[in-house]
């Protein structure tokens, strides 16, 4: 009869898991994943954006399992994402090909294509609506029928009011010579999930990290930059779009040939007419314009506009705007201000990393603490040892 280790840990974890399940089920209801997808659109969009995984049903599943905690849901999705094989890469998408559902500009009163409010919260009165407490499927069906009838009646003639192919406001500024025209840069973007981020970061790395960032963190940092924690940007939202973006991959058969002749990026030489259309995703895209000084020039220094870019999966307007602000901030590094400090921003916005490290403090640290106890006790010893006699 020898000594055996006390096996407490396994039992404790098992009991804890059961208890957690109880918390999810104690009201006697199991959340329907379809209902989560349908009724928690804001959370689904937030979670897809932070996980950088576009899949509404899977996001809804994660939300159910995480009991609605964005921290836990994003974690589930990221872990899932990291097991998925990468089969294809889309061809670069021209944003103007998107079919807008919502499109506004704060820079101009009217823009080609019009100011389209779409479905947004901007002008909603934040008053709790009692009727929602009793809304049931019958009400929903009846309302949807009325909605469809009304839409039919108002259907616009074909050519007017097109929602795709709308020009970008930024293009107008470029045509006017007020914004620096940029050469198309076809360098394949860096992928932060395949290669660790290095500071200084490339712009593609910067944008990826920001779009995957925690909504609250990105928002707060953008807010700080507006309030003056950094040289004032004076940003204006040139354009905000919530749009359906069509996704195309290069012909998978043609790309094998391309690789055979030593091409590494199948999207580069892809024939745009030879692609396969996959479908659409909904994104939020923001282009913010800020005045900046033109370099050099005659004695009087001219101003021009530069662009801050924000884009997220799903409808995440606040985050996309904040992202566009931070994009501009980081375009002008300044170590005196945290909002212009690339390392400070990019290293701390990720949900999984931030929440993981914070929560790790709950892990036992008694060995390190024991070590610290020793160090602290030593400083109280009357003859703290030093190598030399006292002078």
């Amino acid at each position: 009869m020898g000594y055996v280790a006390v096996k407490g840990g396994t039992d404790a974890i098992r009991a804890s898991t059961e208890r957690l399940r109880y918390e999810r089920l104690k009201h006697g209801v199991s959340l329907d994943v379809r209902q989560a997808r349908a009724g928690l659109r804001g959370l689904v969009d937030q979670v897809m954006s932070e996980a950088s995984l576009y899949d509404e049903p899977v996001a809804a599943h994660a939300i159910k399992q995480a009991e609605g905690s964005p921290e836990e849901a994003v974690f589930l999705l990221r872990a899932y994402r990291s097991t998925l094989p990468r089969l294809h890469t889309t061809v670069p998408i021209d944003g103007t090909s998107a079919r807008v559902e919502r499109r506004i500009s704060a820079a101009f009163k009217d823009v080609p294509g019009g100011q389209i409010l779409g479905a947004g919260y901007d002008y909603v009165h934040r008053l709790l609506d009692d009727t929602l407490m009793h809304e049931d499927e019958t009400d929903v069906r009846a309302w949807l029928e009325r909605w469809r009838d009304a839409s039919q009646a108002q259907a616009l003639p074909n050519d007017a009011g097109r929602l795709d192919g709308l020009p970008k406001v930024a293009d107008y500024l470029r045509a006017q010579g007020l914004m620096e025209p940029r050469e198309n840069d076809d360098t394949p973007p860096d992928d932060v999930t395949k290669r660790a981020l290095r500071i200084p970061a490339s712009r593609s790395e910067r944008l990826q990290v920001l779009t995957r960032g925690q909504t609250g963190t990105v928002t707060s940092l953008g807010y700080a930059s507006l309030r003056g924690y950094g040289p004032m940007l004076h940003p204006t939202v040139g354009e905000l779009r919530v749009a359906a973006l069509p996704l195309t991959i290069p012909n998978p058969l043609a790309s094998h040939e391309n690789e055979a002749v030593g091409g590494s990026d199948p999207t580069l030489h892809a024939d745009p007419d030879d692609g396969y259309y996959l479908g659409e995703i909904r994104i939020t895209e923001v282009e913010t314009v800020v005045p900046v000084q033109e370099p050099g020039g005659e004695e009087r220094q001219a101003l021009r506009f530069d662009l801050g870019y924000g884009a997220c999966f799903g409808q995440n307007e606040t985050k996309a705007i904040a992202m566009s602000l931070l994009d501009q901030c980081l375009e002008h590094p300044d170590s005196r201000h945290p909002t212009h400090d690339e390392e400070f921003i990019l290293m701390h916005v990720d949900s999984v990393e931030a929440t993981g490290f914070i929560s790790h403090l709950k892990l036992p640290h008694y060995v390190t603490f024991q070590s610290e106890l020793d160090a602290v006790r030593r400083t109280h010893q009357p003859d703290a040892v030093s190598g030399e006699e006292d002078a």
Binding site: G296, E299, G387
Partner: protein, 280 residues
């Protein structure tokens, strides 16, 4: 004419911010307004500066802000990269190797062993999270000293030299007055007995009485230690008090150089004349 090598030789040092253009690349005076190119906006902070510093000598560099005087020290201490030019230290490869072609590791060696710098802003020269003695020891540690007792003893000696009470050595300089912070910087700069000290506006912003004490200290160090110094200041009175020879800087160029006494008594360049007359 002495055959001893100058402690430091600087040859044709230039520094510009911006890429320059055909008009201003050769520092053609006509292209520049002040130190900025009319055509491309490039700032020529330094244009072809050359000088020597001899053993035990104090060289003053005087000029307004924007004259480029601090930029000279920044380049010598490797805080900034010059656009072109050469510098030689007698103590480094016997003056045969250009400092500005040295590798990163060599530069750090030179900086730690052969140079000492006192910044105008003590926040740049000191770490306020550490005690004064640790700040002084930092330079010695950077020069690979690994004996606490020896470093502590040397720090005490330096604190005495710079008239900082040793019972305050374990206090962070954050809690010191401006004048005392400068003295900690001086102690730190001297810790490895470098052949040359770089002093950048060390008394600017201090009360007059405090200034006087710091200047007095510098005079004493010069007497006792015999280290060569480059003393940068916009204040001609300070230069007059301490510098053996002086360079006058304006818009990145040397407009006059010579013995301090001579420049004071008989300034040649109109700009120098302005400076000197305003002193009287």
């Amino acid at each position: 004419m002495t055959t001893t090598l100058p402690v430091l030789t600087v040859d044709d040092l230039s520094k510009r911010y911006g890429s320059g253009c055909a008009a201003c690349r050769d520092h053609a005076e006509t292209a520049l307004q002040g130190n900025t190119c009319r055509h491309c906006g490039t700032v020529h902070a330094l244009s072809g500066v050359s000088f020597e510093v001899h053993p035990g000598e104090v060289l003053g560099i005087v000029g307004e802000s924007g004259s480029g005087k601090s930029t000279i020290l920044n380049c010598l201490y490797f805080d900034e990269e010059p656009t072109s030019g050469h510098a030689y230290l007698a103590a480094y490869e016997r003056g045969a190797a250009d400092l500005w072609t040295a590798s990163g590791e060599r530069r750090r060696w030179i900086r730690n062993h052969l140079l000492g710098k006192v910044y105008q802003n003590p926040m740049l020269g000191l770490n306020m999270d550490f005690s004064s003695v640790a700040n002084i020891a930092e330079k010695m540690i950077a020069a690979n000293d690994r004996h606490v007792g020896r470093m502590e003893a040397r720090a005490r000696v330096l604190l005495e030299h710079t008239r900082i009470p040793t019972h305050r050595m374990k206090t962070s300089p954050r809690q010191f007055s401006g004048g005392m912070q400068q003295r900690v910087q001086i102690a730190k700069a001297l810790s490895n007995e470098p052949p040359i000290l770089l002093l950048d506006e060390v008394t600017t912003g201090l009360d007059l009485s405090v200034q006087a004490r710091v200047l007095d200290l510098i005079k004493q160090i010069r007497r006792d230690v015999g280290v060569a110094m480059i003393l940068v200041s916009h204040d001609l009175a300070v230069i007059r008090m301490l510098a053996d020879r002086t360079i006058v800087m304006r818009d990145g160029r040397q407009v006059e150089a010579g013995l301090t006494d001579q420049i004071m008594e008989d300034p040649q360049h109109p700009y120098t004349q302005e400076l000197v007359y305003s002193l009287l």
